[in-house]
Structures are given as structure tokens and as C-alpha cells.
Amino acid sequence: MIRLSGLGLALVAVAACTPAAPPETHLDAPFERLQSGYDFLTPETQALQDDTFSNPGYLWVDRGAELFNTSDADAPSCASCHTTGLAGVAASYPAIDSDSGQLLNLEGRINTCRERHQHLPALDYESDALRALSAYIANQSHGLPLSVDISGAAATHYANGRDYFFTRRGQLNLSCHQCHDQNAGKRLRGDTISQGHGNGFPAYRLEWQTLGSLQRRIFDCDTGVRAEPLPLGSQTYIDLELYLSARANGLAMESPAIRR
């Protein structure tokens, strides 16, 4: 008992030293502290993510840099407009496109740019080129806090995404909320359930044996609860992406992260 109360005091002391996060960042997520998926990895996998040479996600970042700087046929390169790079931009996505009023995630923004400014066809989700470009652009926000805007036209998308997060679905009849809010930090077979943040995506998942988008991760979550997944890039999934990002606002971007 004495030991237990000592431990309790120590925990209180640690908690007292941790600066309180601004209230907006947590929204209705029940966490005392936002924890990246990184915190739930083994030290070996963390070391792989931290090694900017051998982290295989950088194969796509490198390729993305090439594509960003290359002109295609008569189309100008991305770099010919974005002359100073795109540092910090990915941290604010999904965001409302002011021209169309649509909510776009990073992949959607890249494809909109291609069609609108480069007159090139949109790239398929999970194509090598779209993963490379999105990883390269996301990596330019590495270490910066997620900071999506949910005001104005984004508010209804946020509400729709939040709704999806809290709705039970699939043969297992589970909502995102039940695993990633109510049971985060607990063990599920060999895994520790994460808080369900997307700050590392596009990420290299060991299970995929490749780099993939947050959309693919959400698709897999739906499949995991034996629900009918939606197509990658569907409006509801992008709305959910906005809810997830807003829920993780303040957490540092890690793309290309390594995830299980």
C-alpha cells in the first residue's frame, strides 16, 4: 500500500510537470496527452523511423522530390509554381479549396493542381507517383504541429467525419471511438491500441510492406471491423480525415513514419 501511494504521488508529480495542452486540440477526445503512433512502437521500429537513411519511406520521398521538380510533356513542374517549397502546407490538410469550396486532403490537392494548373490527369490512389508526391510534400512539414482549420465551410465536413468516427459498424459492430478513444493504450493481441492519429501518414506500414495513404489505413480499419469499406478518396473518408487531424491538432507531423 505504501509503495502504491508513493507511485501515485510520483504520477501526480509527473502530471503536474506536463504542460496542459490548449483545450481546442483535444476536442472531444478523452486523452490527457496526445500520443503519436510512434509511442506505441518497439524501440527497433522507432529506430527505423528515426534513421533518415534506412527508413524505407524515404524511397518515396526521394522519388517525390524528382517528380515535383520534373516537367511532364507540356506541363510545368510543381516546382515552377511552388518555388519556395511547401513547408508546413501538409500540416493544414484536409482544407477547403477556395476555388471550388470542396474539402480536399493532400492527395486531392495534388490531383486538383495537376488537373487545374498542369492539365495532367489525376493520379490513382496508391499509385507510386501519388504516394511519392504526397510523401515528399508531407515530409516538408516533418516536426511541425498538425493545424487544420475546422471553421467556416469545413465545419459540416468536420461534423460528418466526427459522426463516422462515433458510429458503430461492421460485423464486429465497433466504432472508431470504441477502440481509439475508449481503449487506447490497452493490448489487443500483440498490439497496443493507438490513439488513432494520422500524423505519420503517408506511412510505411510493416503489414503493407510498403508506403500508403491515411485513406488506405482507414479502409483497412473498416475492413478490420468487417464493415464495407468506402472507396479511397470518398468524401466521407476525407471528412473523417479532417476529424482525425483536428482531433490530433498540435501533434507533430512524422511522415514518412513507420507503423505496424
Partner: protein, 154 residues
């Protein structure tokens, strides 16, 4: 390299549902016959004696996914023209193919120290066998517990 993902249709998922919950992410579907390891070693090294020692194999105690496990192997050798490591082979007793990888070295390698990332079809003790320039064979081993992921989508 293009990605060729075919996402499952709903009906396929429902059929797979129960089965995949149990079978889960064992990345390699078959298990190697233990005799396969012996025959793989015999194919590379004949019937020569394999002594224990001089080879240090490192694997994490727990691998959180069998698809990618960091491995490093070091052989105690001066790596000179007259005394060096010729080759190192890594063997699994549980993968469908016992030989995982074979490294060719020589005096120009300077140091007999190699690392890579491997696949393991389950918890097992992996073996490394080094052949030195005098023809002697040495081995080292390391055990890894391969854990299963919570939610698996094949």
C-alpha cells in the same frame, strides 16, 4: 514500380471474415520441413562439421511484425588475405525456404559485419553459418518472438 492493389469486395470479405480472424498475419503460409534446413546447409557446405562460436547473430527479442525483422551478423575474423570469411548464410527452421540470404565476403570486405531486414514466419531460432578461408564452418544463433498484429487485412 507501380502499385497493384486490389481491394476486396464486400462478399469476399464476409467469406474471409471468420477465417482471417484466426489465421491472421502469418506472412508465410507454409512451414519449412525441419529436414529442409539440414538439406539447405548440406547443399552449401556438404557434410563438414559446423562448430559453434565466432559468429554473433543479433535479432530483436520481440519482432512486432514478421514481415520486417532487423538482423545483423558479425564474424570474429581479421579479414586478411590469408584469414578471412568467405561466406555467411542465414537459415530459418520455420520459413517455407530455409535459406534466407547468403553473403559473399572476402579480404576486401575489411570487416565481417553485415545487416539486413528479413521475414520470419513465426517465433523461431535463426541460425547463421560462416565459412572461413581455411574451410572451417562456424555458427551462431538468435531467437525472436514474432507477435501477431491486432487487426489484420491481407
Amino acid at each position: 514500380m507501380t502499385s497493384d492493389l486490389s481491394f476486396p469486395e464486400r462478399r469476399t470479405l464476409i467469406r474471409l471474415g471468420a477465417a482471417s480472424m484466426i489465421v491472421s498475419a502469418i506472412p508465410l503460409t507454409a512451414l519449412a520441413d525441419p529436414a529442409d534446413l539440414t538439406s539447405a546447409q548440406r547443399r552449401l557446405f556438404g557434410d563438414r562439421e559446423i562448430k559453434q562460436g565466432r559468429v554473433t547473430l543479433k535479432l530483436p527479442a520481440i519482432a512486432e511484425n514478421g514481415y520486417s525483422v532487423p538482423l545483423s551478423v558479425d564474424v570474429d575474423s581479421p579479414m586478411t588475405e590469408s584469414d578471412h570469411v568467405r561466406q555467411i548464410a542465414i537459415f530459418s527452421p520455420r520459413n517455407p525456404i530455409a535459406e534466407i540470404v547468403r553473403f559473399e565476403l572476402g579480404p576486401r570486405a575489411g570487416r565481417a559485419s553485415v545487416s539486413t531486414r528479413i521475414r520470419l514466419g513465426g517465433t523461431q531460432t535463426v541460425q547463421a553459418v560462416a565459412e572461413l578461408s581455411d574451410g572451417s564452418l562456424w555458427s551462431g544463433a538468435a531467437k525472436t518472438v514474432v507477435t501477431l498484429a491486432a487487426c489484420v487485412v491481407l
